[in-house]
Symmetry: C2
Subunit: 329 residues, 2 copies
């Protein structure tokens, strides 16, 4: 059993309150007493019980980070960024994998609320906007999402603008038959918008909507897509995982990159520059994103309620090899 304040107090021959004073460095205490207490603390290896302290103060100095799955290469760097600033401010982070299941998200929020966490960071949440708002009114929350309208404190990844840029890149390179592979949502919208801007018709068979964004799904999807629309000379993807799957499918089908077909990804995960050919992709500063999310949460917690703000993550096209226009790394 670890030593308590009482133990220290007894052994030092002072009251509990006095021990509390030296532990919390509250001044109002004589030098000799402080010395004595401090040495007893050392001797007993006393360490304050943060839980008991939290019971009084009402804060646990812990936060919860919810994400679909830490094995998705997008998240580790984000989590690192979150943890860095959290730790800097005295917070510890609970990591929770929700499997992209809203019920599990809700369950975890409940669980952590019971542990009195001071705030939540919801990454790529699958909750409805209504649910998010509800959670945000009951707790301090910062949301990391690609979705457009969320009335909460959100760090927003501009999926639509990003895919618009990616698509435009291919279009500018002269591609006309450009397809899309990935999940539904803002990102396809960006793809469609770019086509329209360039006066190109959006045709259904050139889009392959995937339920999940993984290498396997991308590979399978690309196979179907290229069978359905063999005229494609370019494919823009929901993210890098899908793009890598597309790469594999092309390799299997004997379509060479970038000569026969161009591929663009999104996220710039570490893998992106290691596959062959190196992936052209939209770079997302994931570590910074994590820092932004935590910084934002700190503000939400400071405001204590209903705080709203919207931060846009800067994304940037990184041209590599997979689209035949290598200008950089």
């Amino acid at each position: 059993m670890p030593a308590t304040m009482r133990d220290v107090a007894r052994k030092a021959g002072v009251s509990i309150k006095t021990v509390s004073r030296v532990v919390n460095d509250l001044g109002e205490i004589s030098a000799p007493t402080r010395q004595r207490v401090q040495s007893v603390i050392q001797e007993l290896g006393y360490r304050p019980n943060v839980l008991a302290r939290g019971l009084v103060s009402g804060e646990s100095l812990s936060i919860g980070v919810l994400l679909p799955k830490i094995t998705d290469p997008f998240f580790p760097e984000v989590v690192l960024g979150v943890e860095n600033v959290a730790h800097q401010h005295g917070y510890t982070v609970f990591l929770c994998n929700t499997n992209a299941d809203p019920d599990q998200e809700l369950a975890y929020i409940d669980l952590l609320a019971g542990k009195q966490v001071d705030g939540f960071i919801l990454c790529a949440t699958r909750l409805t906007e209504e649910q998010i708002v509800r959670v945000a009114t009951q707790h301090c929350v910062s949301v990391l999402t690609g979705r457009a309208a969320v009335r909460a404190a959100v760090v927003s990844i501009p999926g639509e603008a990003g895919l618009r840029e990616a698509t435009s890149h291919l279009l500018r390179l002269g591609h006309r038959a450009v397809g899309y592979a990935g999940r539904a949502g803002e990102r396809v919208a960006g793809y469609c918008a770019a086509l329209r801007e360039h006066g190109i018709a959006v045709v259904e068979p050139r889009m392959c909507l995937l339920p999940v964004a993984s290498v396997e799904a991308g590979c399978q999807g690309a196979r179907e897509l290229l069978e359905r629309a063999p005229e494609l000379t370019g494919i823009v993807c929901y993210n890098d995982l899908v793009a890598i799957g597309v790469l594999q499918a092309c390799a299997g089908l004997g379509r060479r990159l970038p000569q026969d077909i161009a591929v663009v990804g999104f996220d710039d995960i570490p893998m992106a520059s290691l596959v062959a050919p190196k992936l052209t992709t939209m770079h997302v500063p994931r570590h910074t994103v994590g820092e932004m999310a935590m910084d934002l949460l700190l503000r939400v917690m400071a405001e204590q309620g209903g705080y709203q703000e919207r931060l846009e993550v800067p994304v940037e096209l990184v041209v590599r090899e997979s689209c035949g226009a290598a200008r950089g790394v």
Copy 2:
């Protein structure tokens, strides 16, 4: 402010204890009372304060997972495995990045001890064995390491045996001039052992000892290594990151794989099968490893003290393309 037991008790017109009884489902209560209390609980959205409960019970139902950096692709899957079984048993996990710095490890252990965590999982710890033992006597600890002798509860990754197998593979393929790139420790030892078994001299210049195991370090190291020992026809690596770095260096130097030179990695991280050529490597069942570590910790926590056990992780050679003997994926 969330509702407390007292609020519920007052509103339901019963005592606190009665509320406690229904919350903890302790029987000894009449059906109508239970009904009434339960409905008030719903109404007020009451949720037990786990911290307060822990103050009494002495357990927080939280554990801490310490690792160098979650962005190292080895860890996410491990953490997922840990969290899966932790969650199954009612535990929540604090994730802590220690930057491979023993001081930060110790600091985090102290911090989490203050939060009354019930146990720690130390991944790839940089603590000395003495320090580990000390921590393990004060707390419930399970250690994930490649190191040989640690008197604690450990999940051991057989680095020596693994590298012996990797090296032997190249040797069996006819390679004689085989080098090593990576950190010092058991793994080089395995490399040396394999050479000796095959009657090949261990020569210093063929080994490149790296301070860190990263793609960059591997790339740089391989450049130096191949300059120093151009006769090499094979390089076994500390892990896949280093191996991928070696791949890059070879590409830069115009050495083709696997014709000119063979490369073997360790860990079988997701990237390993996505780079070109696909990496031959020692597969480590990382998700299982995480489960093992948490299962072990559960046993340690159950025993309450000085529990020792040693689990060996099964590793397995996966032959792909990078060593010119593709037989599988």
